[in-house]
Structure formats: C-alpha cells, structure tokens
Symmetry: C2
C-alpha cells in the first residue's frame, strides 16, 4: 500500500479528467490516494485533499467533464518551491508523486525527484502526458490534442461556409488558434478541406515566419478568385519583418499570454485591401469543448491513466507514459515508458518539415487522433450548368 500524491498541472484539456479518473480507478483499491489542489501550488503549500472513498468517487464522476477537476493552473516553480514541495511530500509521508501535464510539468517533476534523491528520500515519480498544442516531446502525441484538433478542423470548415454565404458583406476571416511555438493545431484547420473554394486558404504557423507583403498579395488574389478568404493563424506566428516579434497580451506569474495577432492582421488587411475583415479567436473551446471530445482521444486519455497506475504498482520510476505507433499502416498505439529526462531534453516539439511540406501526410497522421464522426459537405459551388443565362 503506497501513499500516492496526484496532481493536474498546466492548461487543462477536455480529457485531462479522464486520465485522472482512470488512474484513480486503477490504483485506489490497493493504495492511498492524496490529491494536490491547483497543480504544483497545492504541493508547495500542502493544500491536499484526502482520497476518501467519497472523494475518489467524485473524481471518477468527473471522467467526462472538461477542465481539471482538482484545479491545475500555471504555478511558477522556483528552486525554493521545489524544496517546499519535497518538504510537503515528506510531511505527509508520500511514497509516490504522479502529475498529469506537459513540458513544464515534466521538468518540474524531474527537479522534485532530484531534490528528493539528494535528500535520500526515495520518492517514486511518474508523469502522465497531456497537451492541446502537441508540443510535448518523446511521445507520438498526447491526450488532449486530438480533441483540440477535432474542434479546430470542424470549426474552420463551418466558419468558412458561414463566411462564404456572407461574402457580399464580409470578405476575410482570420481565425487564431492556440499553439505558442508549434503549428500542429493551426495546421489541423485544413483537415476537412476538400475543395479549393473552401477555407482555410492560408495557414500560418510559428515554424515559418510570414512576410506581410506576400500574405497581403495572396489574400487579395484569393478574394478576386473566390470572393472571400479564410486565414488561420497560430497565436505564436512571427512576421519575417520583425524577427522575434510576437503579440504579448499579458504577463501573469512570469508567463506571457499571447494573443492578438489576428486582430493586428484584421486591421492591416482592412486598411491595405479595403475589405471587411474580422478576427476571431477560436478560444478556450479548443481545450474545453465537451461536444468535440474525440472518441479516440478520450480512450487514449483513459488508457494513459490506467497505464500510469499499473506502472506505479510495478514500481516504475522517473518515467512518463508515452504513446507510440507500432505499425506504419494501421493505427495501433503502444504505451512505452520514456525517461523523464529525455522528455525534458527534447523540449518543445515543433511541427516537422515533412508535415509542413506535405499537408496530406500530416492529415493521414492526424486522422486517427481526431476520430470518427466529423462532417464534410458537398462543394460550395453550385453546378456550373445552372447559371441562368441572360436574357432568361
């Protein structure tokens, strides 16, 4: 019987509670659970919830609920806080620490493990992956991304059809996706596109700085051709003209909140092309829309939690659960333990060149993650023979 502390950290996803619930179901009979509130903040200040039968049941009831039911948040983990976390874990005699999170979370988990080892405190640590923007390394992908990509793909097609019908009033929409330094989510916006008339007509990703003049010219051409243009832009996109320039919206707890590049693009497209343009942030729905939970993403979120629980019982240590494709042709996933240090070393994973150059290859890779049940439509252009000739 181990005393196991578990936390959710970083930005939530629509399936992070599924991972938590499956982990709890796997370990609760033979172990004592202790829940940390608000991610590393609860660990730092000793704000824990006791895994009573009732509490465990409540966590399991949250399986289908978006957001992180324990609270997560972006708590800045300085060296002092690492020491405090280990103090708190020792105080409650924790045998193991399990955290569901992304890059920052895994880095902090490594540091806590090192601090514990330095003090001769044998703390078992396991990381469970989650992400919306798919920038977590050492895994093929992580739970949360498939649902976010599903949302971006369907929403872009739907909003594109909406704008197509309004093109005598409004010609350009700029949809801004999450993805601080990686274009996985932005590029997913083209997944359902079947006809060249449909949007997205342009997808701008952080991996490729954009020339303002080139973009303007191409948007203008597209409006001439189809009467409208849909642009998808990742929040972290940079202008080639400005080098490292990004829109910084706010700085909270030392972390910059990006956002607003679409509004800037709205203004200059209006001014330069004299058309009606509208920026729209795809917003928090990307990571929280229950109706867009991908069935396969949800299943993998459960499997990730259950696997973490199994490995905890087996005594695996200093690892993260990774998802790896086992077959080049059929989609099949194995859960493989990867060293936490390797995850940290790989850092933020960008969209690889082959996917940037070959969108179809990316969409084949993406298809099993966004899951079944998305909608495609007939061509937006009526049959050519239907135009009423003058005079009638």
């Amino acid at each position: 019987m181990k005393r196991v502390v578990i936390a959710q950290a970083g930005g939530p996803t629509s399936v992070i509670n599924a991972t938590l619930a499956a982990f709890v179901e796997e370990v609760m009979d033979e172990n004592k659970l202790i829940f940390s509130k608000n991610g590393y903040e609860g660990l730092t200040y000793g704000d824990f919830l006791d895994g009573t039968e009732e509490m465990n049941k409540w966590v399991i009831e949250n399986k289908h609920v978006p957001g992180a039911c324990l609270g997560s948040g972006r708590f800045p983990l300085e060296d002092d806080s690492i020491i405090q976390c280990v103090d708190q874990l020792k105080k409650i005699e924790a045998d193991a620490l399990v955290v569901i999170g992304g890059n920052g979370t895994m880095e902090a988990l490594c540091k806590i493990e090192e601090e514990a080892t330095n003090r001769g405190y044998g703390l078992q640590v396991i990381g469970l992956p989650k992400t919306v923007d798919n920038d977590l390394g050492a895994t093929d992908h992580a739970p949360g991304f498939g649902s976010a990509a599903r949302y971006v793909a369907q929403t872009t097609l739907d909003i594109s059809r909406d704008l197509y019908s309004m093109r005598n009033f409004e010609q350009v929409r700029i949809l801004e996706t999450m993805g601080r330094n990686a274009g996985w989510l932005a590029l997913a916006s083209g997944f359902l596109r079947q006809y060249e008339e449909d949007g997205p007509h342009f997808i701008l990703i952080p991996e490729r700085p954009v020339k303002k003049e080139v973009l303007l010219q191409e948007v203008d051409n597209t409006i001439q051709k189809y009467g409208y243009a849909v642009i998808v832009v990742s929040e972290g996109v940079q202008w080639e003209e400005k080098g490292t320039w990004q829109i910084e919206k706010d700085i909270v707890n030392g972390r910059t909140v990006l956002g607003g590049i679409s509004s800037e693009m709205e203004l200059f497209i209006k001014e330069e092309l004299k058309v009606m343009a509208r920026a729209e942030l795809l917003g928090m729905n990307q990571r929280s829309s229950s109706m867009f939970i991908s069935p396969s993403d949800f299943q993998e979120a459960l499997q990730t939690g259950a696997c973490g629980g199994k490995w905890l019982k087996e005594g695996k240590n200093k690892i993260m659960v990774s998802l790896q494709r086992t077959n080049q042709f059929d989609y099949n996933i194995s859960k493989i333990p990867v060293d936490l240090k390797d995850v940290v070393q790989e850092g933020e994973r960008k969209l690889p060149d082959n996917f940037i150059h070959d969108h179809k290859a990316y969409y084949r890779w993406l298809a099993p993650l966004v899951g079944e049940g998305l909608l495609t439509y007939p061509s937006p252009i009526p049959r050519r023979d239907s135009h009423v000739k003058e005079p009638y």
Copy 2:
C-alpha cells in the same frame, strides 16, 4: 406549374439550408424553381441560378451544411432596389417569391409585394423565418435560435469549468454573445447551470442597462467567494452611465457591426480589480457550428420549409410561416400563417419581463428548443469531508 424564386437573406444559421432543402423537396416536382444568389442582391441585379434537376439536387445535398448555400448577406435594400427587384422578377416571369430570413428580410418582402401590387403584377410572396438571436416577432421562436442557444449553453458551462481549474492564474472570463437588441441568446448561457459555484455568475442583456460600479462590486464579491467569475454579455449591452452607448466596431453597407464590449470590460476589470481577465467572443460558431445543431431545431427548420412549400401550392399569400405552441404543458408546435405586415409591425422582439425576472421559466420554455443530448456535470466542489487536515 408556378415559377418560384427563392432566396436566403441576412446572417446565416446552421439550419437555414435545411429550410431551403425541405422547401425545394416539397415544390420541385410541380413547379419551376429559380434561385436568387446572395439574397436580395441577386434579386436586384438578376443574378439567378436555374433550378435544374442537378441544381435542385445540390441544394438538397446541402441540407446538413451550415451557412446559406445560395449566399445570403446583408444587401441594403433602398427604394430603388425594390423597384429593380420587381423588374427582375417580372423579367423572368416569376409567379412567386419566397425568402428565408429575419426581421429585415420580411420588411423588404412586404415592400416588394406592395410594389408589385401597385404595378398590377400578381406576385405571391411567402416568408420563411430564421434567426439566431430570436428577435423575430409574430412567432414563438424561429429555426436557427435553438442551435445557437444550444451552443451558448454548453460552451458557457464548459468554459466555466475550464476557468475554474485555472483560477490561480486567471480569475475572470467575459463571454460575448450575439443578440444586438435582445437577450435571448445571452440568457441561454445559464441553461445548464446547476451549482452556484458554476458560471455564468452574471448575464448582461440589452434589455437592462448595467451600472459599471455595481458590476465591479459583484464581480469582486464573486471572486472572493469562488475564486473566479464568469460574465456573459450580449454584444448590444449598454452601460447605464452612457445612455445609448454601444461599441461600434465597423459600419458596412450602412449597418453597424457591434462587438467589443467584452474587451472593454476586460480592460476595466483588470484595472479596477487587479485580477487577470480575458474577453472571449463566442463568435461565428453560434450560428454555424454543425456539431451543435439542435435535433429539434433541425426538424423544425425542415418543417418550416416543407410547410412554406405546401402553402405556396395552396396559394397562400403575404404571409410568414410562424411556429406556435399549442399546449401549455407538453411541447407541441403548429405552423400558423401570419400576415407579413404583422411581423413587420411587431419589430424586434425583446426578451419579455417575465423571463428576465424568472430565469427558470425561461429555461423551461427553452428546453425543447435546445434539444436532447447536452451534458451536465457533478458539482465542481469536491466533497467537504475530504480536506486533508493539518498536520496530516
């Protein structure tokens, strides 16, 4: 065999194509269909599509597609254009004009009918209702609204749970809904709320001007109590301090595009309360998200189109198809013809006082429109007995 011109006008909805498709299915065997492109613009300039077998089939294939497949748009209809529309209709020897739209559409339809009558041209006109913000008069509600309300209801709950998990980082979200002068859609945001901890904590509607100071005080109280606050605000809300003041974003074709009150609120809440706040427009998804199409709304959209077709064949004239509840207890809808002039006279329909004062009464009224299949969650607060006591 009548020669029937049909158009879609105004902002599209996720079910406006369902109404069109069902109308076409109902009338195409016995009548000749002619489609006007981009709403009244096609009527004004004679931009028509011939209802060939293939064209009709394409329209029917668009039944499940969001947006207006014929194009709609906001074409400003001056007196001159009314005359031009009648010229064009005469030119193609149209016997009937059917337009799917909202308040402005019905008004224009009336004028076209009057102009035709004045010229001794016996044009049959029928209006088919559509709306997202439910401000169309002389009907209980109109197709399009149920799906938009479904989106707003589920999204507000989901984003509320997302923020709840992030409240050590971000405390306030301000969600802006459509609804220029009517609060139906904004008030729908509370439909799924079961616990006082859940958002939305405040719903601001155009029918009730808001005092800045009062709002600030209440938001502050809510943050003290629950650690966060979710505000839903209709795009047309006014501050009591400024009388008729609204955020005007753009003026296109003489029509003001609202939007931005949530950004203004973000700024002053940040400044006054020194908390992290974020504005989010619920955006075009409200009227175009295919995944949020309400099953009952979709069915009523079809019924509205089919009913319009039947009445066209029966020779009904100068009317709009209205939906009326026939029973106080069980939800049951009758299609009743209402005089187009009565629709115009009623003007924009606001949220009635009884719903503003009694949200539960509104939600009982709303339930059959948003349809089955929405998700509710367990309380966001873990069981009270679970807190780990110090010392552990």
